[in-house]
Symmetry: C2
Subunit: 322 residues, 2 copies
């Protein structure tokens, strides 16, 4: 495939962001931002590690890769504006399949008014997509993990474990309930941009997106904020037909499944009703699943209450009774 013609074929003819000065076509892109802070992150997806062609047609590979990056921007309380894509393409992939990957990204870009402002395509032995995303947030209002405080409400959007359940269905043919729902949650997840942007007037709020499972994300907030987090098993929101899977799989997926790209947050109790009303307004579910507490011993631990029992929930995927 000719790299130059490929770049031209994915180049946007119109840009959506008025802060863009120069898009694709020179040594670098140029943009201007006088009033907001700029937020940026990078994420890489490698074939057979982060996805397989068996479970992800090329369109969805692109779609999901960009959503995963936007989700990081959402977790900063920011709005995405630009993305740059570096893609390594093996000979086994056709130009048409590569175009499909970019079509998936463009679909996401259109939904969230993002412009593709740079990138390169190189050949290699395994398909790899590295995306840098750039977003804006009101000055000084980026949402950090480190601001959770004792007695904050811990909440989560949507339902957990669905993406992992969808992957299971894609990998194991079977007779499932709501199969298309779960598969879509895996292949076309939704970044919670609208929800997060609706929360701007809340002065203090810790946010993380759920890319690696809630056990890991809650631990990151607890560690950064030097608190503990107490979660209640019965409160964890699950999709209606999630109980079609064994207790073992449910447990594994809802805490460690990851890639739901829902938002985990903590807010002062007085702001909790506002969070609920914003979720209502943007049409998503939000659930109180626990609270922030003072550290028992060393800070940074997550505890899970199941009935009367409380046990530590560790980020590496194992729970042990105490």
């Amino acid at each position: 495939m000719d790299e130059f013609s490929f770049i031209n074929s994915i180049k946007q003819s119109l840009y959506k962001q008025s802060s863009l000065v120069k898009g694709v076509g020179d040594d670098a892109a140029v943009f201007r931002q006088q009033t907001q802070d700029i937020v940026t992150a990078v994420d890489t997806f490698v074939e057979n590690i982060h996805f397989t062609r068996q479970t992800m047609p090329p369109f969805y590979i692109g779609y999901r890769a960009l959503v995963a990056n936007i989700s990081d921007i959402a977790a900063m309380g920011a709005s995405p504006a630009f993305y740059l894509v570096s893609i390594i393409i093996p000979k086994t992939w056709t130009e048409n399949e590569c175009m499909e990957i970019f079509s998936g990204m463009k679909k996401v870009g259109k939904e969230y008014r993002m412009d593709l402002i740079g990138g390169d395509t190189v050949s290699g032995s395994e398909l790899s997509i590295s995306i840098t995303v750039i977003g804006y947030v009101n000055r000084g209002q980026a949402r950090y993990r480190s601001v959770a405080k004792d007695q904050d409400v811990v909440f989560v959007t949507g339902t957990l474990g669905d993406s992992r359940a969808g992957l299971h269905m894609l990998l194991n043919q079977g007779d499932y309930i709501n199969e298309s729902y779960f598969k879509e949650r895996h292949q076309m997840p939704t970044p919670r941009i609208d929800f997060v942007n609706g929360l701007q007037q809340i002065p203090r709020m810790a946010l993380n997106d759920i890319s690696d499972g809630i056990a890991n994300e809650a631990t990151e907030i607890a560690e950064a904020s030097e608190v503990d987090i107490h979660l209640v098993e019965e409160a964890i929101p699950l999709a209606e037909s999630f109980d079609q899977f064994s207790d073992h799989l449910q447990e594994k997926w809802k805490y460690f499944g990851g890639e739901d790209f829902e938002i985990l947050g903590t807010v002062p109790l007085k702001n909790w009703s506002h969070v609920q009303s914003v979720a209502d307004r943007v049409g998503i579910q939000v659930t109180e699943i626990g609270k922030v507490v003072l550290p028992r011993k060393e800070s940074g631990n997550v505890y899970l209450q199941k009935g009367n029992q409380v046990r530590p929930l560790t980020k590496n995927g194992y729970t042990h009774l105490t």
Copy 2:
């Protein structure tokens, strides 16, 4: 290798850029820029395509990869400020080798006051480094390829073909003159940041960095500016001992060798002496190698004058007599 401990090990303890609000450690980095435009580009380097372990020890792989990206920022007339690194690491690379790659990048970061503000490390089958670099330029003063005009002086910094000559020496043991000079030009090239920054008062100037050979870079300027470029073979600056190679290799390397990361530019004749004085001040060579001319037929062509003969110099690496 544990991804988390690796990220911590490359995390900076101090940041140099005062515009940085939040570095590594949350879902994304945050920075603030009210007075300058922001410039960004991405570049990817894949083992056995862009480099081999045979010719590039890990430290130089990192060093050179970041320089290549900074060079794009220089070619925009900008100063680098931040970089994000996404690295795919195969099992055949040790943690120590990976640290060496980052040491090479850190060395460059230190020289140019850049902060590493994000990144991820994932496993894969071939080593690949994708770097996004972010820089600043005075508002409205980014240097585009598209502004060259008839009768502009065409200039180039340094000497051409040295990097390719160095690679040749690394690949073919032999008895060479100035071997360490040429090898260093390949392994530790210098981005022309200081030079470019000294040219800020020149109102109009087209710039490109020489990553793909001067034939290609000159064509890009000619195409973007809708002009032709006339180069003079005798004027092309070459290192003193470049003539130790055959005429065939010299010709190939100086026009198509690439990766010298020198700067090719065009300026109005009245600004040429200023360009020369800035080069003097920062201690580099700058040479007039031709001029911008009105298109002969369709615009976007580069012509090379050798003695009395003029022939087209095309970007894909071939010259044909006319």
